[in-house]
């Protein structure tokens, strides 16, 4: 990190990781070191170069909008951590009040 402080707590929040204080301190050191290496890319002239998201050109692929076989509800639910009435049960999302 050359030009700004790596605020790992904010990044962990974005990444939905509940890191311990010990992890934050370890990762901060390791990631700072990795980012120092990554910063070497700044010396490469990329003016006018188009970005590549893929190794080969990628095209939209469409298929006819027809129904076809898929997973059964049982197969879909077999790995659910919690289920009820043929659905995945999840923790509370919104307050009822």
């Amino acid at each position: 990190m050359s030009d700004s402080q790596l605020s790992l707590k904010r990044i962990a929040e974005l990444a939905r990781l509940d890191l311990s204080d010990e992890e934050i301190s370890t990762f901060e050191g390791q990631l700072t070191h990795i980012l120092e290496h990554i910063d070497t890319l700044k010396s490469i002239d990329v003016d006018g170069v188009e970005p590549s998201a893929h190794p080969t050109p990628v095209f939209d692929v469409l298929r006819p909008d027809e129904s076809r076989p898929g997973l059964s509800p049982e197969a879909f639910l077999q790995n659910a951590p919690d289920q009820a009435q043929g659905q995945i049960r999840v923790p509370k999302v919104v307050d009822a009040g």
Binding site: L17, L35, P51, P91
Partner: protein, 471 residues
């Protein structure tokens, strides 16, 4: 026994699928505890599949090991992660699994790996430790280290791995076997747990080039279930396998004979090139100036894609759900915190950072532009050369535990393999000799052959010629 020899013995009746499976199971039972190559295997099922195997099919009766990130109906698929251990059974077959079954192969077991394929040593497996069969104090390489160690120790005759930055080729080199990353789009990624979708490709590991060609022939081809799978005809790889290298131009990228490449390894690589020259190939030096930048480019793009891909592991639909959480956001955060190991967390954090507001242009966008430069440089090199020949790794298998404090050291050692993923090229690693470890062991060295996109046939043809001149 090699896969090709096994097929011959099966078709002549010298052996049976059951005898083959029993032989491999006895190897697994005597060695897996020490080598740690397989996370799981199902003895009864393998024998049941052997009993009804159709040996007239292309891989009829041949047992195959899958890396534990490839779905197979009703099997576990742990990705060597606590997140999926004990809680997940595949509800479907990956396309490569289906193709192997349709070709008559028997699913033998599931190989250890770096957690979610993140790493080059298999030390990042949260479930077990894999050692190098040539020296048990050393890593097998990774991330497909279990697949490579299984083949190298005789527990498997062929295995599938996945390669995002060298994860098939580098463990193949470290374990003294053959491993191939096919062209991007050649093999379907459907049902293979995604790490970095623009880089991932599934491929075979086996004892020789012909074995690899036979497995690739079965798993290659267009798949409507993977939109990046290419609708391109698959050539008959065996038809050109023995065409030799006469008249071919073999490029030696000068940047690949630097960067800490051990001198004794460099002489083995150059000797392999010289033997191909003797067979009628010509050697040309080529220039790939952005080689060093490839590591930084890769360690922006791959974590960025990983941070997005791994957001699916949220504790809701499958895998680990924390019992400590109070609400939905807390469930995500605690399930992920408890389920992921340190390397996976590091890469998710790095990926989240380079994609975050304010840093996207400086990191992610810039890396995508350097990726374009790398692709252009390969295109220019392939005007001067038909294939490229390079070391697979700058060093032989290192000691277990040597990079625990500083993950960057391992990242930098990926330098010779990651460019092929950034450019989508097919690449193979084959053994070309051994070096002294300095403490009594002989460690295998791999030579890498790269070819233009979709020239998997040429990779195999040149690798076969190089293999024939070994020893």
């Amino acid at each position: 026994m090699t896969l090709t020899e096994s097929l011959a013995a099966l078709s002549s009746g010298q052996t049976t699928p059951t005898a083959l499976v029993e032989e491999l199971l006895s190897q697994i039972e005597s060695q897996n505890e020490t080598i740690g190559a397989l996370i799981s295997y199902d003895k009864e099922r393998a024998l049941a599949e052997a009993a009804k195997a159709d040996t007239s099919l292309p891989l009829g009766g041949v047992p195959i090991v899958l890396k534990d990130n490839i779905n197979a109906l009703d099997d576990p698929c742990t990705c060597a992660s606590k997140f999926l251990e004990n809680t997940y059974r595949s509800p479907y077959d990956a396309t490569v699994t289906r193709k192997l079954r349709e070709a008559g192969a028997i699913l033998l077991g599931r190989a250890n790996m770096d957690e979610f394929a993140m790493g080059s040593s298999t030390e990042n497996s949260a479930l077990m430790k894999t050692v190098n069969p040539h020296d048990h104090s050393r890593i097998p390489g990774g991330s497909s280290g279990g697949s490579a160690a299984a083949v190298a120790s005789g527990m498997a005759i062929a295995a599938l791995g996945s390669d995002t930055g060298g994860s098939i080729r580098q463990p193949a080199a470290h374990c003294g076997i053959v491993g191939m990353k096919p062209s991007y789009g050649r093999v379907s990624r459907y049902g293979v747990v995604a790490f970095a979708s623009s880089l991932d490709q599934v491929g075979p590991l086996a004892n020789n080039v012909e074995d690899v060609a036979r497995v690739l022939q079965v798993i290659a081809g267009h798949d409507p279930l993977d939109s990046t799978s290419l609708d391109a005809p698959v050539p008959d790889f065996l038809a050109t396998l023995n065409d030799g290298v006469k008249g071919l131009r073999i490029g030696l990228p000068k940047q690949y004979f630097a960067h800490g490449l051990r001198p004794e390894m460099e002489s083995l690589i150059r000797a392999a090139a010289a033997r191909l020259e003797k067979q009628g190939a010509s050697l040309v030096e080529v220039d790939l100036p952005s080689t060093e930048a490839a590591v930084a480019t890769y360690y922006i793009l791959a974590p960025a894609e990983a941070s997005s891909n791994l957001s699916r592991f949220d504790g809701i639909r499958y895998g680990h759900r924390s019992s400590e959480a109070e609400d939905i956001i807390d469930t995500y955060k605690k399930s992920r915190e408890e389920g992921f190991g340190p390397e996976v967390k590091r890469r998710i954090l790095l990926g989240t950072y380079v994609l975050s507001s304010g840093y996207y242009d400086a990191y992610y966008s810039r890396a995508q532009k350097v990726r374009t430069l790398i692709q252009r440089e390969f295109a220019a090199a392939f005007e001067q050369a038909d294939v490229l020949l390079t070391p697979t790794s700058p060093r032989p298998a290192r000691k277990i535990g040597a990079c625990e404090e500083d993950p960057l050291d391992d990242y930098l050692a990926d330098i010779f393999t990651i460019s092929a993923n950034l450019a989508g090229l097919p690449g193979i690693s084959i053994p070309c000799g051994k070096v002294d470890s300095g403490d009594g062991a002989k460690l295998p060295v791999g030579v890498q052959i790269l070819a233009p996109h979709l020239r998997d046939d040429l990779v195999l043809q040149v690798a076969k010629a190089a293999e024939l001149t070994n020893e």
